[in-house]
């Protein structure tokens, strides 16, 4: 049945308290080529 939604509308600031020690994952172009090649092998992409 219908209930009151629990959704939040407060938007926190993502830039707050960024720990500088965190790594930054990225998909380098050479890595993207590997991902595409591997997924093609898997049949996920053609």
């Amino acid at each position: 049945m219908e209930q009151e939604p629990q959704g939040k509308v407060v938007v926190p600031d993502p830039s707050a308290d960024n720990p500088p020690a965190e790594p930054v994952p990225e998909l380098r172009p050479e890595d993207e080529a590997i991902v595409a090649e591997r997924l093609r092998e898997l049949g996920y992409i053609e």
Binding site: E2, Q3, P5, P14, D17, P19, P25, L42, Y44
Partner: protein
């Protein structure tokens, strides 16, 4: 106001329902999606009858169970039969101008059916899932601006941000991770993932950082959640553009996911196989002010993704074809009908595993057509009320219930195959299409 609403169908690939605030998540991953749910309607218990992407989207666009359309595997051999009802084709006949901002048609040609326009910004990338919400929005908003006044449009937009690899913008660094060392070489919690070809691919590419290999699953989960947050920003930007164009009120926006994502549950790491709720339960949220959807509604009955096509056709004033497995939710969303749903949902997968599930409000029964490579038993039974995370297999404790549900499942499969005019179970025929590659990887 134009008689027919514009329709925007948003598919957020791999977006797990319970990682959204409006589905109970404790972290603020989705403030704008939550607001959308507050202004519209939300279905709490929606399930994918097929996973992953290709079979699930085929169900979304046909309104058919996968045993009806026959596409049960991602990358499988089956093709959608010509003449099968396909949502954009009907909307085109109904006078809509139709556009997909999507890449699926490059993988399987039927995903291009019925579209006058297909825009694929992912062509700028080597791997299509690298395309960002910003790139898709730019293309989509530009296209919407070209639609003549008074002409209803159907736009399908398929976001890939939440799909692996999880590489959110650097500006979101720090969100949702409570410290620790993401690259601790003594943490071996992710080692099990390297056993799978997709895990090995992650290890060899996007998990390699300047600080070393990411080893902390909590950190990978935080990256997934940041991608949701990034997607959330994109949906907010799309809605803002509709407002700015003055068409938001009469645009029926439906947000869903094709499947969820397993974080590390059931030894399935950051992928979308396994028929557990983390992967088969999906969000379904709609907003349409001029359509008088009953704002702030949450509907609890079980529904499935095959309901989406008939619901959109209903909103467009089109005749809903006979023989669909799904049914329209529109009257319920308008508050004209009492919320109702299915007593059970039956679904399947045939990609990394070959299995069926039967889900009732209280129980989940999973039946394997082929042994899985994780070593799970061929039959699993869970009490979802007592064990919502599906950790305690009750097959040996409740053999009669398991046998009853198996009989019910097999009877339904046989009946549905007969209705579809099929003599073979496509899950048996396709098997688990990724198994040979997985075995080769292990070797």
């Amino acid at each position: 106001m134009q008689a027919k609403p514009n329709i925007i169908l948003i598919s957020a690939d791999s977006l797990r329902a319970n990682h959204l605030g409006c589905y109970g998540y404790s972290l603020p991953t989705s403030p704008h999606i939550d607001a959308m749910a507050c202004h519209g309607v939300l279905c709490e218990n929606v399930f994918a009858p097929a996973i992953p992407t290709q079979p699930s989207h085929t169900t979304i666009f046909t309104g058919l169970h996968p045993l009806g359309h026959g596409v049960v595997a991602h990358g499988g051999k089956a093709r959608l039969a010509r003449g099968t009802t396909f949502l954009p084709e009907i909307l085109l006949e109904e006078g809509y101008t139709t556009c997909a901002v999507d890449t699926l048609f490059r993988e399987r040609i039927w995903f291009g059916r019925g579209y006058e326009y297909i825009i694929d910004p992912s062509l700028r990338h080597l791997f299509y899932a690298s395309v960002t919400q910003e790139e898709l929005n730019e293309a989509a908003i530009h296209w919407v601006r070209t639609v003549p006044n008074g002409k209803p449009f159907f736009l399908f937009i398929h976001y890939w941000d939440v799909h692996y690899p999880y590489v959110p913008p650097e500006r979101l660094r720090g969100l949702f991770y409570n410290g620790g060392n993401p690259t601790d070489p003594n943490n071996h919690a992710l080692d099990q993932w390297w056993d799978h070809p997709v895990g090995a691919m992650a290890r060899d590419t996007w998990l390699r950082t300047e600080k070393g290999l990411v080893t902390d699953p909590n950190y990978v989960t935080a990256l997934y959640d940041r991608e949701i947050r990034y997607l959330d920003e994109g949906i907010a930007a799309l809605e803002a553009a509709l407002e700015q164009m003055g068409i938001a009120d009469n645009t029926f926006v439906v947000l869903l996911a094709d499947h969820g994502e397993s974080m590390t549950e059931h030894r399935i790491c950051y992928d979308h196989y396994g028929l557990y709720d983390c992967t088969v339960q999906v969000p379904l949220i709609a907003r349409w002010p001029a359509g008088k959807l009953r704002a702030r509604s949450r509907l609890a009955p079980m529904r499935q993704l095959s309901d989406v096509a008939p619901t959109l056709l209903d909103a467009a004033g089109a005749e809903i074809p006979e023989g669909l497995d799904g049914s329209s939710l529109l009257k319920q969303w308008k508050g004209e009908d009492e919320p109702s749903g299915y007593e059970r949902v039956i679904g399947l997968e045939s990609t990394w595993q070959a299995k069926y599930y039967l889900r009732t409000k209280q129980h989940k029964f999973i039946l394997a057509r082929h042994p899985d490579l994780l070593g799970n038993p061929d039959r699993e039974l869970y009490d979802l009320e007592a064990d919502p995370e599906e950790n305690h297999n009750l097959v040996s404790e409740q053999p009669q219930l398991a046998a009853h549900l198996e009989k019910e499942l097999e009877a339904w499969i046989a009946e549905r195959l007969e209705t579809a005019g099929r003599t073979q179970d496509p899950v048996r025929e396709e098997g688990a299409v990724g198994v040979d590659i997985w075995l080769k990887h292990r070797a």
